[in-house]
Each structure stands twice: as C-alpha cells, then as structure tokens.
Amino acid sequence: MRATRFHLLHMITGVLIAVLLGIHMVRLHLDSILDWFGVDTTDSTSWESMIARASEGIWAALYIALLAVALYHALYGLRGIILELTPSVKAGRIITWSFIMIGIGAFGWGTYVPLHLLSS
C-alpha cells in the first residue's frame, strides 16, 4: 500500500498547491482583481512589501506550507518521470532516496530564511 499512499499524498498536495499558490499569485500579481477587492496594491515585489509580509505570521505560515506541499508534489512527480526512464530496480531505490534527501534539504533551507528574517 506504500506506493498508493505516496500517490494519494501527491494528489492531496496538488489540490493544496492549487489553493495556496492561487492565493500567492493573486496577492502578488493580479492588481486589477485585487483593486476590485480593495486591497492595497503597492508594488508587491519591493523590499518593504516583502518584509511586511514576512513579519506577519499568517504569510510566513502560508509560505512554509506552500513550500512543503510544492516540494513534495514536484519531487514525487519528477521521481516518477525519472523512474520511467530507469530500467533497474536498485538504481530506482537510489534515486528515491536522493530525492528524499534533496527534498528535506530544500525544505530546511527554505524555512530557515523566512524564520531567520522573522526573528531579526
């Protein structure tokens, strides 16, 4: 049942990404829609705007959650594509473990930066 559980997680993270990334994209880019909602649309990519967002707990939580689900979904998908090109079972296991390492490393680094900035 292991492969089935991983695949179900792939689908659940897909739905979560659609929601979280949608929020992220609307906040950052869709000025016309946001104006209609009455949100302050000063330049979202400026330093001040980004620091303001990073200091708010809700945005930091959103970014960390988005990073986790996006990393899992993307790396599981890429692992699937690479396994389809790998005829050996042993090489497949090595590939799976390296993806797990890369995922944990990227998540650790990606979470460290906003938390570090949040506390400073």
């Binding site: 880019h29 990519t45 330093w47 998908g77 594509i81 090109l85």
Partner: protein, 144 residues
C-alpha cells in the same frame, strides 16, 4: 539470436502516432509540470539567497527582472499553472473512476469511456482558455 530492441523511449511520450486528445493532454501536463518545477527552483533560489543578502541585492534583482522578456516568461508560468492545476483536477477525478461510467459489453463501433465522457475534458479546456485570457488581459494592462 537476440531480438532487436524496439522501444520508443521518451520519444514515445511526444510522438508515436495519430492519437487523440487525452494523449496530448498527458504530454502537455508533463511539459507544464517540468516547466513549473524549473521555475520553482529558480524562484526558490532568488527568494532565499537574494533576500538573505539584504535590501540592495534584492532591489537590483527585482529591477533586473522587470525586463519585458521576463514578464512574458511570468505570464507563461501563470498560464502553465492554470492548465496544470485544472488538468490535474480532471485527472484526480478520472483516475479514481469518477465520471467515467460503468463497464459495458463492447458493441462495434467501440467507444471507450474517455471518449464517451470527452465533453468534460473539453469543458475543462474551455475554462483554462478563459482563465488564460483573463491573465493575458491583466498582463497586457500592466502590473507591478
């Protein structure tokens, strides 16, 4: 005598014959997925390393990225995300057999379940096209 290998390899993902809609939706889903992954890696590097190094580096990076060529790239990423998300939702439903109907004894001319329910896939593509046009409108109208 060893039989000769005849695998299409990864070329078989792209082209192996005159297949219909769902085969090419699968290919487009793969391409958008890999494109989004590539963008995600670059985005992660920029928002972590460049942020870490302080305001000056961040602002210069942002102004470099306001270049129109990058804006087109951003639009493509947004459109790819819309397609991948909606096709993904269709796949989640159909991979668990929802909306595919029951098995029926085959009577010629055969119509498989995906073809019978193709109107759902077409409806999804229509929604993707509409959203992509909305995004295009926003992109052309300007932005940050």
């Amino acid at each position: 005598m060893q039989p000769r290998q005849n695998y299409l390899g990864a070329g078989g993902w792209v082209w192996a014959g005159k297949y219909k809609l769902e085969r090419y939706l699968y290919l487009l889903h793969r391409i958008t997925g890999l494109g989004l992954l590539l963008f995600g890696v670059i985005h992660l590097i920029i928002t972590t390393f460049y942020r870490y190094r302080g305001e000056g580096v961040w602002e210069s990076a942002m102004s470099a990225l306001s270049n129109p060529a990058f804006r087109v790239g951003e639009y493509l990423v947004a459109a790819a995300f819309v397609f991948h998300a909606l096709n993904g939702l269709r796949l989640i439903l159909q991979e668990f057999g929802f909306g595919l109907g029951r098995p029926v004894p085959p009577i010629y001319p055969y119509k498989d379940a995906l073809r019978k329910k193709r109107r759902w896939a077409i409806a999804m593509i229509a929604v993707v096209a509409v959203l992509a046009l909305v995004l295009l409108g926003d992109f052309i109208a300007g932005g940050p």
